[in-house]
Amino acid sequence: MAKLILNRISKDFGTGRPAVDDVSLDIREGGFLALLGPSGCGKTTVLRMIAGFEEPTDGSIILGERLLADASGSLPPERRNMAMVFQSYALWPHMSVAENIGYPLKVRGITGEPAKRKVMDALSTVRLESYAARRPADLSGGQRQRVALARCLVTSPDVVLLDEPLANLDRHLKQEMEETFREFHMRSGATMIYVTHDQSEAMALATDVAVMSEGKLLQMAAPADIYARPEGRLVGGLVGQGAILSLPVPTSSHRQLDWNMLAPIFSSAAGDLQKADVLVRPQDVIVSAEGLAATVETALYEGERYAVRLRLDDGQALRAYSREAVAMGDRLSVVIRAGWRL
């Protein structure tokens, strides 16, 4: 196992706009990277280039000491020692569960007792020991997903790729599978790259999150960092809940803003100052006796609290949580405990 380096890779399918545009990523050994972005942002193309299904039109991919691909050529997927969980699972319907899992071993010439033992090990990791003889068609969606995972596990690959593996599962199964993935990552120690458009999945699983949009890499950081300190409007809008306000904040100030710094900005009528984007998380908007006047636009009951959408008097929207019931049209006053200049 080794470090995976994507060095300024681009992919142009000849459509006029490159699908992936000058992306560089360093994925540390044993890391779990989530590639996050809206659909069509190029994240799946990056994954397919790492796997070898697509060749980069520019840049290079290096795994440890091995050059996997550059503009002149590419090592075919069958020689990369990687494994992948596909969105459709890609289990071979004509093989039993055990045959599916054992196939990478069979191709490598491992047969007999050692192969059998490895297959059973992999099956026990995903808790499907008793399903070895079944056909994929007889399994539920979650079970198929686990078989696909076990197939990745069996050859100890250098890199495990996951292409929106939870997209087809219901919410309950999603949580269970997230647990399985985390456990799998800890046990195997493999470098994992996980493509998703669901930011909560990315935050829950990954050690690093890379946010992409329109073929470009916007930011890569640990989940807590990217949540607390997103770079730019796009990342701020994609990661976590929140509202982006446009405020006349001096660019020389700290990026982390508290109420003491925000209150004068709201009260001053400085219209000539250049405005900046400030991200405000809903948990940082507190209903209090004094503060900014706001009108409740919608209030959604979520069980433990109300998710409230507020409209400030200057017309900007704000999100907040409230423990007490609020109704549409209520007038509240709120304090913004913290904001982040994007």
Partner: protein, 564 residues
């Protein structure tokens, strides 16, 4: 760091060039050669001699009239069956449609023989029930209308299939909406169903016409004895009476047939283009009309038609096969299986024909399967501008009448092959190559649709598992397309084993096929032997069709030609 010589796309280097050269050899070379010969004969002026020959224009007129009236008959029978079996609540639809599809798969020369045995003055069947025409009266089928009738019966399933595909796409809710607006069944038929099904009908009629133009078996058996030649039998008779201008003449006539076919196929494509109403409404279930009191009447008509075009001719064929001698009345006492014994055990020619046809059909079916798997893989996986052109080129020899293909291969192989300096003309190899060319499209279609349905990630998963191309082919791809591959083998075998049109010009002593044997036996007056051989052929056709019918559930849609 190592040098990255291998490209990411790990198809073997030879794959695309191999498929391309196979297609060039099987399609481009023969058709190009035919075109070249036609142009050459035009430049040399031979073509004017041919064009001044009244025989050519008689044959052209005969071809057009038989094909046109045949097409009308196909429209009436095929259209009626399509409407009744798709839209009405008739019982036993599956059985009815299977039986109705049989004429399409039964070789035309067998159909013709059966009908001759049913209607002639010496019909064993009619004699047995005392209804035969008096001896010496002419056989009524040896005429333009006889040929047209049989072409109509033979190609009615083509109209049925084409129209049915359109009718199946009619949205049920659209018809229900019309009914709710107060339209009667009759009005719905005129206002909604007829306009919506017109493209399918036109397309089916065009195919029926083209198939009539290219048909050889029926005009050969019904027309040649009465000296009524169509373009395809004219080629045959020119070829048999070999002369100095033969090659130029048959090339020119073939080109004429090819042009007529291309025009017909263009009409078909045009009719279906832009007339795809399938986007509207949730289709899936075809509309059903309650026939009410008319239900038994419609059912009776359908069964009666099937009885007349299928059961009686087959009984006549059986009767002809078991009479002791031509013209002898058939009773339980005179009945004999002598003819079967003769063709199976005594006659060397029929035994040779069996061996040849079974061998040719098996080699064609299996060889084409291997080629089809590689070609389908190439067409599906290779992103190239040439893939559309490639599949078009594969389609052409199948779309053209078999007689055109065989003339093209005669022209290619008449001279010894350069460099190798050997000739395959007159050997079984030329038939084999012509079969490969003619039936490539038949073999490819099921395999291609199976490949198109295949989730590409199944192969990608195997690549990441470390499997190279051959490994993936054996372990993953072939098992996954196996049902379609089976269907492809059976279909090609079924068609190749019974065909006459291609081999009629290509056979020589020792390389007779079953189709040729049936035709020659009939031509030489051994009607009983020809009938007996035909009975065996029909039995084989029905068996193979049933086999496919049993597999149908596991096959991609559209693979079994008589199911939709």
């Amino acid at each position: 760091m190592q040098n990255l010589k291998t490209r990411g796309n790990s198809q073997p280097r030879w794959l695309f060039p191999f498929v391309l050269s196979a297609v060039v050899f099987l399609s481009v070379l023969p058709l190009g050669r035919l075109l070249y010969a036609g142009i050459l004969s035009a430049l040399k002026g031979d073509v004017w001699t041919l064009l001044r020959d009244p025989a050519l224009w008689h044959a052209t007129a005969n071809t057009f009239s038989t094909s046109f009236f045949g097409m009308l008959i196909s429209i009436v029978i095929g259209g009626g069956f399509a409407l009744a079996l798709t839209l009405a609540d008739v019982r036993a639809k599956v059985l009815l449609s299977f039986l109705f599809m049989l004429p399409m798969m039964i070789p035309p020369q067998v159909t013709a023989l059966a009908w001759v045995g049913m209607t002639g003055p010496s019909s064993a069947l009619l004699k047995a029930i005392g209804m035969a025409l008096p001896m010496g009266s002419p056989q009524p089928l040896y005429s333009i209308s006889g040929i047209a009738l049989l072409l109509g019966v033979q190609h009615a399933p083509l109209v049925y299939l084409s129209l049915r595909a359109g009718l199946m796409a009619l949205p049920r809710d659209g018809i229900e909406a019309a009914r709710l607006s107060g339209a009667s069944s009759w009005r719905v038929l005129i206002d909604i169903i007829f306009p919506l099904s017109l493209p399918g009908l036109i397309a089916g009629a065009a195919i029926a016409f083209v198939s009539g133009v290219g048909n050889f078996g029926i005009p050969a058996i019904l027309g040649i004895p009465a000296n009524l030649l169509t373009l395809s039998t004219l080629i045959y008779s020119r070829f048999v009476g070999f002369g100095p201008s033969t090659f130029g003449d048959i090339a020119t006539i073939s080109t004429m047939i090819a042009v007529i076919s291309v025009v017909g196929l263009a009409i078909q494509t045009q009719a279906l283009k832009g007339k795809d109403y399938r986007v509207i409404g949730l289709s899936g279930q075809a509309a059903t009309f309650q026939l009410g009191v008319w239900r038994p009447v419609v059912a009776a008509v359908l069964w009666l038609v099937l009885f007349a075009i299928l059961v009686v001719p087959f009984l006549a064929l059986c009767a002809s096969a078991v009479v002791p001698a031509y013209g002898v009345p058939l009773t339980l006492k005179t009945m004999t299986f002598h003819a079967f014994k003769e063709i199976l055990f005594t006659q060397a020619i029929t035994r040779t024909a069996f061996v040849n046809s079974l061998m040719l059909a098996s080699v064609t079916a299996l060889g084409l399967l291997a080629l089809a798997v590689l070609t389908a893989y190439c067409l599906v996986r290779k992103e190239s501008r040439f893939t559309g052109l490639l599949s078009g080129l594969i389609e052409i020899p199948y779309a053209l009448p078999g007689i055109v293909v065989s003339v093209a291969f005669i022209l290619v192989f008449a001279a010894p092959i350069p460099i190798l300096n050997m000739s395959i003309y007159g050997t079984i190899w030329i038939i084999l190559i012509a079969y490969f060319s003619s039936f490539f499209a038949v073999s490819l279609k099921p395999v291609l649709s199976a490949f198109l349905q295949l989730d590409p990630s199944l192969e990608e998963a195997a690549r990441l598992a470390g499997a190279g191309f051959y490994r993936r082919l054996v372990d993953i791809l072939v098992p996954l397309v196996a049902p379609a591959a089976g269907a492809s083998v059976i279909l090609v075998f079924l068609i190749a084993c019974n065909e006459l049109t291609v081999s009629a010009l290509l056979w020589s002593a020792g390389t007779q096929t079953l189709g040729v044997a049936i035709y020659n036996l009939d031509d030489s007056g051994s009607f009983d032997l020809a009938s007996a051989l035909s009975v065996l052929v029909v039995a084989m056709v029905v068996t193979l069709m049933l086999l496919l019918e049993l597999m149908a559930k596991r096959l991609p849609k559209g693979v079994v030609p008589w199911r939709s």
